[in-house]
Symmetry: C2
Subunit: 520 residues, 2 copies
């Protein structure tokens, strides 16, 4: 902080204070009301500023950055509509408990009472997608508000903290540096819950251990879970989607609760006991006529060893200690045979990915309807970090990859991306090109909102042409190679599984982004 000037405006005090607390990346799509932040970022040169051409790219990238960097970025957004554009990927980050600090510009305080074109109730717009919202009131307290946002965001579990920034408190002089304060630590382990969990494992009844969030990011915890499973016969399961799982050869394979409702119910039907560690009781993605909302059997005895605000890895260690389990050896499945030439199918895609995904890759999974087929590749492939869509709001894959690549410039990033979902935030390819990120985007082009065809069936409908016209994307065909070219990302189309593997291997070796349109 010693470098801070004696006098500065509010915007500069926020930038300097956040940076002194370790925030050094700003994902931005600024407008007029954020110009004093653009100026402060420019003059201080303290943060890496990453421009997104659409706000959903900004927040998706901030999420991907934070999942990999294990510390938050700050986003810079423009008034209520800019926040709304950003909100879907904030929703996803919030469900993943990924910490994030948003700075949302607003009109100058004196201007807010008028019906200017961009005036709206910014606080009301931010609240439904934030865990904490405050509107700054003056230049002198602006940095302290930013530090409080950071404290809230980084507490356990991670939260979305949104600080509204009226333009004038940014440009007014009188900014004061503010120091970081310690965030909330995890809730302490409940020892009676630990006793109950041990009892479940020793009950002789079929037991499932459902683990989420930071447990899945921790290779030591994953190894201990493998040991617990081997010792007790319990099944370990991750939620349907998780912010990050450390997977691959030499690590324990990680199964998950399936997305399709009937498969999810069948998966959990055998269990008389369930132990929950940093995750909530599994619930159906959607409700369906005649199906339950909660997925565990009604008579399953559940123990919450830690809630989402607890320290999951510590709970796993305590549980392993109680039952005398040692870390497992990481019995990942064998690498499947490399598929020979032929069409790319849901049957051969996992084997193809397992063989082609590079060492130490970051895999971003927005495969949607292909996700059941592609997920197993993460266990058989070389070691990787597997990042998934957590809030069900499609359009995260391309931005998430852009952000992950900024956090880890030395690791290859591979995006497994459905075509329909790709189109929500396709603009993120431009950010990948601008940042020269080593991201390979694999578009799984089935040319439809394929997953919705199953969902239409689930509500009892027999689709006719008008319904199919709202689910099919083949009129006109989307040409993702052309779209990528339009944003400075080279690419190619592949129709053969051997070509797909070669294209992945080539692209991951080369620096910079690449797009592979894989025709299914």
């Amino acid at each position: 902080m010693s470098d801070a000037p004696k006098t500065m405006n509010g915007a500069e005090s926020v930038v300097r204070s956040l940076h002194s607390a370790g925030v050094d990346v700003c994902f931005a799509n600024p407008g007029t009301s954020e110009m004093q932040f653009v100026d402060a970022l420019d003059r201080t040169k303290l943060m890496h500023c990453v421009l997104g051409l659409f706000e959903g790219v900004v927040t998706g990238a901030a999420d991907g950055y934070t999942r990999m960097a294990r510390k938050p970025a700050v986003t810079l957004l423009h008034l209520a509509p800019g926040f709304a554009n950003a909100a879907a990927n904030l929703h996803n980050a919030r469900k993943a408990r990924v910490p994030m600090v948003n700075l949302v510009g607003d009109h100058a305080l004196r201007h807010q009472k008028y019906d200017a074109p961009l005036s709206a109730d910014v606080e009301a717009a931010c609240a439904p997608f934030s865990d904490w919202v405050k509107s700054g009131t003056d230049a002198g307290s602006f940095a302290a508000d930013a530090m409080e946002a950071l404290r809230v965001a980084t507490g356990k579990p991670g939260r979305i903290a949104t600080l509204i920034a009226p333009a004038d408190i940014g440009w007014d002089e009188g900014g004061q540096m503010a120091a970081a304060t310690a965030p909330d630590g995890p809730a302490p382990l409940d020892l009676s819950a630990l006793d109950d969990a041990v009892a479940a494992l020793e009950s002789g009844e079929k037991t499932v251990i459902l683990v989420g969030n930071s447990v899945l990011e921790d290779v030591a915890a994953i190894a201990l879970l493998e040991g617990i499973a081997q010792k007790t016969g319990a099944q370990i399961l991750a939620p349907t989607s998780s912010r990050r799982i450390e997977r691959g050869q030499g690590r324990a394979p990680m199964a998950k609760v399936p997305y399709p409702i009937n498969e999810a119910i069948a998966c959990l039907a055998p269990y008389a006991r369930a132990i929950l560690i940093e995750t909530l009781p599994p619930v159906a993605f959607f409700a369906y006529p005649g199906k339950p909302s909660l997925l565990l059997p009604e008579d399953c005895v559940q123990v919450t060893l830690t809630d989402v605000d607890g320290d999951g890895p510590a709970a796993v260690a305590a549980l392993a200690d109680c039952i005398g389990a040692q870390p497992g050896k990481g019995q990942s499945p064998e690498m499947p045979a490399r598929p020979q030439s032929g069409a790319i199918t849901l049957q051969n895609i996992a084997a193809a990915l397992s063989n082609a995904l590079p060492e130490d890759a970051i895999i971003v999974d927005e495969a949607v309807s292909c996700g059941g087929a592609t997920f197993p590749a993460g266990d058989a492939a070389r070691p990787n970090s597997w990042l998934a869509l957590t809030g069900g709001s499609i359009g995260i894959g391309i931005p998430l990859s852009a952000g992950a690549a900024i956090a880890c410039p030395d690791r290859p990033v591979i995006t497994i991306q459905g075509d329909g979902s790709a189109m929500y935030t396709i603009q993120g390819l431009w950010t990948q090109a601008r940042e020269e990120s080593n991201v390979t985007t694999i578009i799984l082009a089935n040319q439809s909102y394929e997953i919705l065809k199953g969902e239409l069936h689930n509500v009892g409908a027999q689709p006719g042409q008008d319904a199919l016209d709202m689910l099919n994307l083949d009129r006109p065909h989307l040409d993702f190679v052309a779209l990528a070219k339009g944003m400075g990302v080279p690419g190619r189309r592949v129709e053969d599984v051997a070509d797909l593997m070669r294209a992945i291997e080539d692209a991951a070796r080369e620096p910079g982004p690449y797009l592979i349109e894989a025709m299914l």
Copy 2:
């Protein structure tokens, strides 16, 4: 209504009731919680269903449709994140007082208490961007709620009405047809305000008549305003942006309040009296250090002849009658000389557009930083309807055009589109291709958020490289011809003004969409 079946589910009752009240287009980006609507739309075949690949396309298109069809469409959106994606263009529609009815799916009522991935407070998410929000409660009353939404939306002034649709009340049987009820009519003319307006015009002081919304859509009202101006010397001005102005040869030219703050203040500085007809007192787009928020001089005497809930054309007619003004003759400016070959510049673009824009065109104006240069073309061109970005939230042009073309399939649509703003909702090109709309998109490619450079200057900053990197779009270059090709829209790049004119003329003559990337 006689064709309605005796029993139907809630979704079908909503579709049938809305259709019986004249709603026959549905703009949609549905998900699982809307499958019963997809099914009902499919089985009834009552509405033209238009798919957008992103929700901002859906609401922007619904807005464009309504501006031209003069009746609302219905939108179909997916939960809180889907609504958030749609919200920026709802913000724009709301500022324009364009009526719209949104159906936003939510989880089934019994499912809402769980932390499912897509669960969120849908009502809180919708409220800041809607004038009316209700969550449906049961299948039997669902259609009546939809009719109330339609009544609210179509009352004067137009409103955004959002009906939240829990999945189960859509699929439950017991749907009941509901009849339309009459919307609010306009507020009656205030006769003392009429006296004050007449007094202003007869005061001998410099007077401006600011007119908005339905006045600008009404060729008879525009002609009467011309007559009033000729008789009294008053200046007629439109707001900085308007939902629709009937312009072109044989109609009165229509000046507007400029966007740049200094020009706006200078434009209004001469006036001692102001008469407001269906518009609010003009306010600066943004606040700036040392500049006023309200644009009329402090000592200007203002008369609100009608507020935005009044009947502006009737007020204009009453005012003309009081002062004995006849309709003007439509003294539009002469067609400028056709520019010869040379670079496309802000100096020659209005003349080029004036010559090239086809008869009876719908012009969609999201030129942003080029808007000052291109706006005059609307007066000199052949008769046209001129639709602008009304709420300042960029990313409306391409969707607005898609919707306008569906309302008026026999009129050519020309979009004058900034490059930065195009990227927010570029997905709308696919909808134009799918619907085979005769839309010509002219991208004005200056490869920057050019308007923000002026805004940075307005807050007193001298931009360095980091600031320019957040405003420039030239690393990498965006290739809009490739982007269009990726979505099934043919196009070409032009660098010469004569080529630009020929390309517009060719594209407007040919059916189907086309994109012209005009390099500035």
